[in-house]
Amino acid sequence: MSDILVSEQSATGADGSGRPSGRLLEVEDLRVEFRTRDGVAKVINGVTYHVDAGETLAVLGESGSGKSVTAQTIMGILDTPPGFVTGGQVRFHGKDMLKMSAEERRRIRGEGIAMIFQDALSALNPVFTVGFQIAEQFRVRRGMSRADAKKRAIEMLDQVKIPNAKGRYSNYPHQFSGGMRQRAMIAMSLALDPEVLIADEPTTALDVTVQAQIMDLLAELQRERRMGLILITHDLGVVADVADRIAVMYAGRIVEEANVYDLYAKPAHPYTLGLLDSIPRMDEKGQQLRTIKGLPPNLMNIPPGCPFNPRCPMAQPVCREKLPPLLQIGSGRASACHFAEELVNRD
C-alpha cells in the first residue's frame, strides 16, 4: 500500500531523498499506529508537510484525523505504547529526529521546537506560580540566577501582553483568566526562543473575542521572531486570518495542501469543499446546517481506495479501488483526489 502514497510529489516538489533542503522542519511520509487490545489503529498514514522560518502552516482536520498525533510525534511526546512510529522521517534542520538519542531530542524540545496546548489551565502546574514556571526554564536551561531568571520571566509575560506582568509573576495559574493562562502558556513556550512553535488548538478552550486576541498575539510574536508556526485547528475561521498554507488532514493523511486563498476560493478535494460548505452562513439563517454526511472511517479498518469515498458526494467506482496519491496540481498546491483537476476547473 505504501507504494501508492507518493510523498515525493507533495507540494514542496522535494525529491524525498533526505537532502539538506534548508527546510526548517519537515515531516515526510510519517506513519504512526496505535496498537491496542482491540487491534491496530493506523492513525497516521503517510503525512508529509513542512514549515519554514517565518511561515504559518495550518493543519486542519476534524477530531481523530491525526493532526494532534502528528504534532506529538514531532515533539516526541507520543505515548509509547500504544503509539508506535512505523515509518517516515521528522527532519529538523535536515536531521531526522526520530533517529536521535533521547537526550538529543530532549535538548531540541523547548529550544528548537516548542508546543502550546489547548487547555492552558491544565497545562500549567497548579502548585507553582506562573512566573516561577517560566523562570524555571531560564534557570535550568540557561543556568541563570534566580533574580535574572525572574527578570527574564517578567519580560516574557510583558511580551505576551499580560498587564502588570511584575505583579502577576507571583500569581498561581488558577488566579488567571482563561485568556491570560493561554498567554502565560505562550510565554512559557517561547521562553527559550524556539524556531518552530506547534500550537495544538490554542484557542479552542477560549471564547471568541479572546480567541481573536490570542491569534493576533501568536501572529505578531511569530512575525517578530521569524518562527515557523504549525497551527493545529479544526476552526476554519481561525485559519483564514493567520495561515500562509493549509494542510487538510483526513483519516491520517493529508488530502489537500494549498495556500489560503486557493483553498478557500477553489478547494481541490471534496472533503475540503464539504468543510467549507459546513460553515454556517448568514444568508441561510433558519435552514438546516449543512454537514458532511457519515462518519470518519474507523482507523482500525480503513476502507479500500480513497478513505473519504463512503462520504464523498462525487465518489466514482475508481474511488473505491484506488487510493489517490497526494499529487501536485498547479503551483504550490496538492490534492489527493482522483478528480482534483475537475474540481478546480469547474465553473
Partner: protein, 325 residues
C-alpha cells in the same frame, strides 16, 4: 481518572473554564506584592502557614512533646521506673499530680518519660512508611507496565499479611523472650516492623495519585519543553501528589502510637523498664473502673499528640495547595 476517594484530595484542579477577557489586573494579588525575591513552593507555603493560628497551636504542642521526649527531666523530677508499693493506686494529689499506678510508680513522671518511646517510634515509623511507600508508589505509577505490576503484586503480598500477625512474626524472631536487645534496638525493630507492614497502603495511595497526575497536561507540557525525567518527577509530579500522603501520614502517627502499644501489650514490643504511653494504657486497662486516672492521663497525652500531628498535617496540606490560599 482513578480512585475517586483519592481524587478529592489530590490537588489537580478541575478544568474550570472562565471566559472573561481579563480579570482586573490586581485580582488575586497578595496585598503586599512588594519587591520580594522569587519564592518557591515552600516559601509560599511557609508565608501562608505563618498566618494560621491552628498551625501555631499544633506546632506549639508538638514542640512541647518533642522537648518532653528529648529532655524528660526538665518536666519532672519524679522516678518513672521505681515505685513504692505502698502507694499502689493512690489517686492524684499535690505530690503526684496524676497519682500512682499499681506498682506505686508516679504516673506523671511515667507519662512524661513515656513520650520518648511513643513519639520516636511513631514519627520514625511514619517517615519510614512514607519513604518506602512513596518511592515505590512513584516508581510504579510513573513507569507503569511490568514495573508497576511487579511492585503492586509485591505490595499485595505485604498487604495480605495481617498486621498483628506480621509484627508478631518479625518481632518474635528478632526480639524473642530470651533476647537481650537494648531499648534502642527494640525501638528500631518496632519501627522496622511497623514500616515494613505499613508501606503498601501508602504505595497504593501514591501510585493512584501519580497515575492521575502524570496524564495531566502540565506533565506533558513539561516534557514538551524539554524537562528531564528527574525534574518532571521531583518538580511537577511530587508536589502535586503529596497532599494525600501528608494527610495519611498524620493519621498514621496516631495509629502507630496505638500499634506500638499493642505490640508492647503482647509482650513483643517495648518492655518494662522502658516506658511508653502504649505500655501505660495497656497496663491501665485492668483498673479502668477502680482507678480511671491510670488510663486517663496517658490517653489524654496520646490524644493531644495525635491531634496536634493531624492538625499540623492539615494546615501544611492546605498551605501547599495554592488554590486554598
Amino acid at each position: 481518572m482513578s480512585d475517586p476517594s483519592t481524587a478529592s484530595i489530590v490537588s489537580t484542579p478541575p478544568s474550570t473554564n472562565p471566559n472573561e477577557v481579563g480579570a482586573p489586573t490586581d485580582a488575586g494579588l497578595p496585598g503586599n506584592a512588594r519587591k520580594e525575591k522569587p519564592r518557591g513552593l515552600l516559601g509560599d507555603a511557609w508565608r501562608d502557614l505563618r498566618r494560621k493560628p491552628l498551625f501555631w497551636i499544633s506546632a506549639f504542642f508538638i514542640l512541647i512533646f518533642v522537648v518532653m521526649a528529648a529532655f524528660p527531666s526538665l518536666f519532672t523530677s519524679g522516678d518513672a521506673v521505681n515505685g513504692t508499693l505502698a502507694n499502689s493506686r493512690v489517686g492524684p494529689s499535690g505530690d503526684a499530680w496524676f497519682g500512682y499506678d499499681v506498682q506505686g510508680r508516679d504516673v506523671f513522671a511515667r507519662t512524661i518519660y513515656g513520650a520518648r518511646a511513643s513519639i520516636v517510634v511513631a514519627l520514625l515509623s511514619v517517615m519510614g512508611t512514607l519513604l518506602i511507600g512513596g518511592t515505590l508508589g512513584i516508581i510504579a505509577g510513573y513507569r507503569g507496565g511490568w514495573v508497576d505490576a511487579l511492585l503492586s503484586r509485591f505490595a499485595d503480598i505485604f498487604f495480605g499479611l495481617p498486621f498483628v500477625l506480621g509484627a508478631i512474626v518479625i518481632l518474635t524472631t528478632f526480639n524473642g523472650a530470651d533476647s537481650s536487645n537494648s531499648e534502642w534496638q527494640i525501638m528500631a525493630l518496632v519501627i522496622m516492623s511497623l514500616s515494613v507492614l505499613g508501606w503498601p497502603v501508602v504505595m497504593r495511595l501514591m501510585r493512584s495519585s501519580v497515575l492521575a497526575t502524570k496524564e495531566a497536561d502540565y506533565i506533558v507540557a513539561a516534557r514538551a519543553l524539554g524537562a528531564g525525567t528527574g525534574r518532571i518527577i521531583l518538580k511537577h509530579l511530587l508536589p502535586n501528589c503529596l497532599a494525600p500522603l501528608l494527610v495519611y501520614g498524620t493519621i498514621l502517627v496516631g495509629s502507630f502510637i496505638g500499634a506500638e502499644a499493642t505490640l508492647s501489650f503482647l509482650g513483643i514490643g517495648l518492655k518494662t523498664p522502658v516506658v511508653s504511653w502504649g505500655i501505660m494504657i495497656s497496663e491501665a486497662q485492668n483498673y479502668i473502673r477502680v482507678s480511671p486516672y491510670l488510663l486517663f492521663f496517658p490517653a489524654a497525652f496520646l490524644v493531644t499528640a495525635v491531634l496536634s500531628f493531624v492538625m499540623l498535617g492539615e494546615t501544611v496540606r492546605e498551605a501547599l495547595d495554592p488554590k486554598l490560599r
